[in-house]
């Protein structure tokens, strides 16, 4: 089973030059039964944003689309590198590329 959320917009050539695209995959969905992970099921979305977009906005948008809380979510690369959202989308694209995933933030210890 594969579910995808597409966002299509026809950009002008100038818009295309100044935008970066990401494919963000949701790796943990409490709505999906555990057995679904065994058949490579996943949710993902593709988005395109201006390079100067704060990556916090990308995180927030992705979280809203997947209906998970942005405050308790984080975005990492497909090979597990954490991405500090305090940078531009263009910077993230240059350093890490376009294939990302959103995971829930964990906690360590008790308050």
């Amino acid at each position: 089973m594969e579910l995808a959320i597409f966002h299509e917009h026809i950009d002008s050539e100038e818009e295309k030059r100044s935008k970066v695209s990401f494919k963000i995959t949701l790796t943990s969905d409490p709505r999906l039964p555990y057995k679904v992970y065994n058949v490579n099921s996943f949710l993902w979305l593709r988005l395109s944003v201006p390079e100067s977009t704060p990556f916090t906005a990308v995180l927030k948008f992705a979280a809203e689309e997947f209906k998970v809380p942005a405050a308790t979510s984080a975005i990492i690369t497909n090979d597990g590198i954490g991405i500090n959202p305090a940078q531009t989308a263009g910077n993230v694209f240059l350093k890490h590329g376009s294939e990302l995933r959103i995971i829930p933030r964990d906690r360590v210890g008790h308050c």
């Binding site: 943990s28 990492i76 995971i103 964990d106 906690r107 360590v108």
Partner: protein, 142 residues
């Protein structure tokens, strides 16, 4: 590091492996790669990866979760016949200078635990797998 909104410092909000990996990168420490283990999946699906991590010289693996937020670090993994598997778990609250490893084990700070019992099936987990950053080490030696 700017990853949290104003007011986070000094609050009772929590942090975990994600923030630890960002800190390691920000302060030039060992690399910390994140691995998400979904709720209910258990650690059995990641045992081969953990084995390769430690066999390849990887460092301690920090573990954080949601339903299970008990601090723990993995120092090793032992794969037995069939589905038998154990992880070497360190309680990171340990402090002081023990005289020998047996003292740590006797006090319960470190020990082997069966994978199915060490991890809560109702919790997701994030693992932060640390490994030497050879570039940083080379620079430090200059």
């Amino acid at each position: 590091m700017g990853d949290k909104p104003p007011g986070f410092r000094g609050s009772q909000s929590w942090i975990g492996c994600v923030e630890a990996s960002l800190c390691l990168d920000h302060f030039g420490g060992p690399q910390g790669r994140l691995c998400h283990v979904p709720r209910g999946a258990g650690l059995h699906g990641e045992l081969e990866r953990l084995y390769s991590h430690f066999a390849g010289g990887g460092g301690p693996v920090m573990v954080g979760g949601d339903a299970d937020a008990q601090s723990k670090a993995l120092l090793g993994v032992c794969l037995g016949p069939g589905t038998e598997a154990y992880v070497l778990v360190l309680d990171p609250h340990c402090w002081g200078a023990p005289k020998n490893p047996s003292e740590l084990q006797a006090a319960g700070w470190v020990g082997w635990q069966e994978v199915s019992t060490a991890f809560d099936p109702h919790s997701f987990y994030n693992l932060c797998m640390t490994s030497c950053n050879s570039e940083e080490q080379n620079r430090a030696l200059d």
